[in-house]
């Protein structure tokens, strides 16, 4: 009998440690499925962040390194120098990439580093227990803005895709969401495009995934999906912010 579905060998056959309803697992899997479909699992070297996804190296079945908080882009730049023919990627959350690691991500983009970054934006710090992130929305309650984030206190949420797309070296920037099957399929296409940009040595590529954190948002997974649609997508519009010519319709 012909199998209708096989699990990607890019993911190890273990349970992830992500909370129920968390979208990290989907992001992990579509990255690995894409690498498998491209026949590139053996060429991949991934860099895990600090935060909830620190353990993604226990799920993603490729060579992996665990970076210090925010430093994944610098680490990836180093890997790329030693192994120039490999497919290198970083996987980073919003605390990692948009707060403590802004220097590293901005300069990696600025240099046009030939690696791909997958950025999980769930508008909150997950692993440390639900503190305010740079991407936390105005009015959103967290353990460090218990009355809701205000502009006076913390400024407006940072839009990383918009910011990085102003940098010449960042040639591919797309924001996707993991809230529906159609969006997940679109996200997977974005992952593929990011790797293709890297393979063609065109410059730096990043995919931002709008994601949910039911545990720290204090919502059910279903309500979290609704909250993402109602609140995150209007502030963080989905779409291709930048794409090299010829890859737009791939």
């Amino acid at each position: 009998m012909k199998p209708v579905f096989t699990y990607t060998k890019g993911m190890l056959p273990v349970s992830t440690s992500y909370c129920p309803g968390c979208t990290h697992g989907i992001a992990n899997r579509i990255i690995m499925e894409t690498l498998e479909e491209m026949g590139k699992l053996g060429d991949a070297i991934g860099v895990a962040p600090i935060g909830c996804a620190v353990l993604c190296h226990q799920f993603m079945n490729v060579d992996m390194l665990e970076a210090a908080h925010g430093r994944a882009p610098a680490v990836a730049a180093g890997i790329r120098r030693a192994q120039p023919d490999r497919l290198v990627f970083t996987y980073q959350g919003d605390g990692d990439l948009a707060s403590i690691g802004t220097n590293e991500i901005v300069h990696a983009a600025h240099r046009g580093e030939k690696f791909s970054t997958f950025f999980i934006n769930n508008a909150i710090y997950g692993m440390t227990g639900g503190q305010m992130a740079p991407t936390t929305l105005i009015g959103q309650k967290t353990t460090t803005c218990p009355e809701g984030r205000t502009v006076e206190q913390a400024g407006r949420p940072i839009r990383m895709s918009e910011m990085l797309s102003t940098i010449d070296g960042a040639v591919y920037v797309e924001r996707v969401a993991l809230d529906s099957p159609a969006h997940v399929r679109a996200a997977k296409k974005a992952v593929r495009r990011a790797f293709e940009v890297q393979e063609k040595r065109l410059g730096f590529g990043i995919v931002e995934f709008l994601s949910i954190c039911p545990t720290n948002w204090g919502l059910t997974p279903a309500d979290s999906i609704t909250w993402l649609r109602d609140n995150m997508i209007p502030y963080y519009p989905l779409g291709v912010y930048k794409c090299p010519e010829g890859l737009e319709n791939d």
Partner: protein, 362 residues
């Protein structure tokens, strides 16, 4: 023996690291070592490697972590405040067992301090500013030739122990010129040869049944697993304490007084020793060449019947003196002669202070 050439310290250090096998350099400009990134930006590409000017020292040390984890042979350099920024990464390199050669051409602190030579990074280099249980073997050369010989061997040493190896050279050594004999270049490891030399490195997982994928990490959430890991690291460090320790000793037998000094300060002590000899005072010297591991054993050879004091001489407020006290273990008085802030004592000043110390002990 190779022909001697006159070289500035910083350029000689960079050339020695390349000849020792380093092919990757990540750095950020900082006085008094900026000649090194300049030299590397000219040389490494020609010699099959890569130079990258990092966005910060924090970036540089993490590029080092990635490159070393992927099998690259990395040399990096900075100076005191830049080394402070690298401490986070050094802790990671040690835990993840990634090799690298790290040079501190030190200046004065605290804070941004000044750019004149200083030795106040002794604690930073020997105790480490990063978190957790780890050690970094650290050499403290006293001449450009000695620094060249150490930097030539350091990359292979780092590879063999899978740990960073550091060199502490003050700004005096970095900026002055001396005749140097450069050793023959060692063979370099090409990217495709990395799996054979470093099977633990990140090179891509081929999914062959008898192969394992590489995971380079430092997180161990289970206390028993972390304890086991750190104990494994310390088996290595304890072995290095026995095998790596290196020092020069001069005239301990019959010495009235013994100086302990490293780097630039040891050169001044050698001058002071001659001047004291002319005045009938016999001075000996213990010169640590490794400051971690520190040559505590050298102090057992002191002439306890004759020597009246051991004097730690330092370009700091007295940091190595802690190790000197451990080495002496209460068997003799331990004194301090020092200047700091970039002030360097003359040999005459050392002589006068030594006579004063000996006079007070009578």
């Amino acid at each position: 023996m190779a022909e001697k050439v006159l070289l500035k310290g910083n350029e000689a250090f960079a050339e020695a690291a390349i000849r020792g096998g380093c092919r990757f350099y990540f750095g950020y400009p900082i006085t008094p070592q900026s000649e090194i990134p300049e030299f590397m930006s000219r040389e490494l590409k020609k010699r099959g490697g890569a130079f990258l000017q990092a966005e910060s020292e924090l970036g540089a040390i993490n590029m080092t972590y990635g490159c070393a984890a992927a099998g690259g042979n990395v040399f990096i350099s900075s100076s005191s405040p830049g080394i402070s920024l690298m401490q986070e990464g050094m802790s990671f390199l040690c835990s993840a067992e990634c090799p690298a050669t790290i040079l501190n051409v030190s200046r004065c602190g605290p804070g941004v301090g000044g750019i004149q030579p200083g030795q106040a990074d002794y604690f930073q280099m020997t105790r480490g500013g990063g978190n957790g249980d780890y050690r970094i073997p650290t050499f403290a050369p006293a001449s450009i030739q000695e620094a060249v010989d150490i930097l030539y061997e350091a990359p292979m040493l780092a590879d063999s122990i899978r740990n960073p190896v550091a060199v502490l050279a003050d700004g005096m050594l970095g900026q002055m010129m001396e005749p140097v004999a450069l050793p023959e270049p060692k063979k370099q490891i090409m990217p495709q040869d990395v799996p054979a030399y470093k099977p633990w490195a990140l090179t891509g997982y081929d999914f062959k049944p008898d192969h394992q994928r590489a995971v380079v990490k430092s997180l161990r959430l289970q206390p028993d697993a972390l304890e086991k890991h750190v104990e494994k690291l310390f088996e290595k460090y304890h072995r290095l304490e026995k095998e790596l320790v290196r020092c020069e000793t001069i005239g301990l037998d019959g010495a009235d007084v013994v100086f302990v000094a490293f780097g630039t300060m040891s050169r001044l002590c050698k001058e002071a020793m001659e001047m004291l000899e002319a005045e009938g005072v016999r001075a000996g010297l213990i010169r640590p060449i490794t400051i971690w591991p520190f040559p505590y054993g050298a102090f057992d050879a002191l002439d306890f019947g004759k020597t009246k004091a051991v004097i730690s001489t330092e370009l700091s407020m007295g940091q190595m003196i802690d190790d000197v006290r451990i080495g002496v273990s209460g068997r003799l008085p331990v004194e301090l002669i020092h200047r700091t802030g970039g002030m360097i004592p003359t040999s005459l000043e050392i002589v006068e202070k030594t006579k004063k110390i000996l006079g007070a002990l009578k």
